[in-house]
Amino acid sequence: MLESILVGAVAGGTCMVYAGLGEVCTERSGVINLGTEGSMLCGALTAYAIGITTGNPWLGVVAGMLAGSALSSVHALLVLERGANQIASGLVVTFLGLGVTALFGQNYVGQGVVPLETWDIPGLSELPFLGPVLFQHDPLTYLAFAAVPLTSWVLWRTRAGLVLRAAGEAPEVLEIYGTSARKVRWITVLVGGAMSGLGGAQLSTAATLNWSEGMTVGRGFVAVALVIFAGWKPLNLALGAYLFAGAIAFQLQLQARGWEISRYLLEALPYLLVLVVLALLSRRRIHGGPATLERVFDH
């Protein structure tokens, strides 16, 4: 049972790892983007549609990233150019993504996509327990394993990461050194959208091989919550995403095993788990987020 749950955690968590890593960077630069859910949907549909049209799922994945980025540019325009409220803008962008993908997605419901095949890693995939959990996945799942330390490295070990964090902590100081904080934030919002799009693309072309209206079912919002849960740290975020997906796998396993627990309680379990961990962590941390997060910054 543990093996199945962990396999489910990795398979189901990948899309939230991508969306969450993008959101970590976006928020580190000072912008909160609740449009993540919408960008995931745009990525999921575009990857699916382009994958079908071209017969090449990788082209679909790239197109999905661009679509996620395109939607997040609406958020960037509203909050960075017009000084709009970030929460309101993000929500509107999500509903925009929901509407647009529902409209354009109608023709793709039920169509077959060329899947991103599972790559069994030679040798390692035959290992007992670890093989199925870690080494029998689609390539985007492996890429997510690599993206987590890579994001940490960029954020804390590179000059680009320093500039990115400075945009969120002290934009005025950054400006003194001649770098536009707004420009940095534009880039992170677009990159964050692309990462969400990548998460959505993984969901439609690798995890489910399906497009259907609203198929992310709140995972983009969960990713945003996980960023706070993770204290804006990539590794914690990945753990949170896998934990959340693992909790879903766990409750489905309990149902399949006939445990007589209220199904409503079981379905709430992943969310309850995140809430409990958030509550526990919040006691220790005053505020782990960037100093100017969500503040309207006008330079």
Binding site: M1, S4, V7, G8, A11, G12, C15, S73, V74, L77, L78, E81, R82, V92, F95, L96, G99, V100, A102, L103, Q106, N107, V109, G110, G112, L203, A207, T208, L209, N210, S212, E213, G214, M215, V217, R219, I248, A249, L252, Q253, Q255, A256, R257, G258, E260, I261, S262, R263, Y264, E267
Partner: protein, 377 residues
Amino acid sequence: MPRSLRVAAVVCGLALLAGACSSSSDSSSSDTTGGDDDATTVGFIYVGPKDDFGYNQAAYEGSEAMAETVDGVELLQAENVPETAESEQVMQDMIDQGAEIIFATSYGHLEFAQNVAERNPDVTFVHQGGLEGDNQLDNVGTYFGTVYEPVYLAGIAAGESTETDTLGYIYAFPIPQTLANINAFTLGAQSVNPDAEVITISTGSWCDPAVQAEAVASLLDQDVDVISQHQDCTKTIIEATEAAGAMTVGYHYDASELAPEGWVTGSEWDWGPLYSDIVETIQAGEFAESDYNGDFRVGLQTGDNPFVQSPFGTMVSEETIALIEEAKQRFIDGGSPFEGVVKNQDGEVVYDEGEQPTYDEVEQMDFFVEGVTGTIG
């Protein structure tokens, strides 16, 4: 970015937003076919897109089949009509265009159809899936098919096909129609295979493909080798089941092409004959005296069930098909999938020897039968 460009970009964004918001009303515009002045104009409203590979597509195809069968029919179609007062406007528009009959095909359209019916006594309204209740109007009727009958028959095929005696059923919410389907499926399987058990998993959503994929994996872990479902989107479950070498019993439409190896059978809608009969009855001026002016429920007993069996897979033997035909004949002759003795999960008798629940009782079903694994509350 220059200021003018910024403004242009914001305008584009807002235009996109406006487009998305108005998409539902855009696509609810009607289109007409045919142009005969003496024709009976029949309006159909659908809650979703007419190509959803499910409920709405089945109703749409039924309407097209009806128009081909019945002489002198002109069709008005409207997709994505919400279950709100907006639907009244769409129905009234159709009447203004000459509609004499309105088919309101979604559960939530009933109240609004009744409102429009009161204002338009010369127009006949038929509603799919609802119950008229106390608000009986002379020009309104409701109709539906007994969905659980073909599901029971599919259960027979599943019970014969399984090698592990363990079947899986993935559903969204424990509403009576779903519970009746799961119970019918179980009783059908048990009628040919007393050891058959059904493990249920609730996904808490009509369409969450990621959870569906995980639910399939959880069921396969429990030695399930046949999986059926009651979901809006079905593709992920069928493909994941097929990829694992397990068998599929479909629901809503014929998805056998998604599971060339493991397709057992399924149940799907074929509304054409019933729609034709309703329209012809109204054309003949006999609606008021007919069964359609009330809560009409069509099943194998009353005539052709609009919910029919999908094609059988290669693993279904002639003997099994004969057993299915036998059970079908039993229902045509007045039997029911829920004919007693039926016990609930706790082994308590719900329907006594020979007892049959009425259609109303089935529509309020709130228990799992013996042999089902799952909790309702």
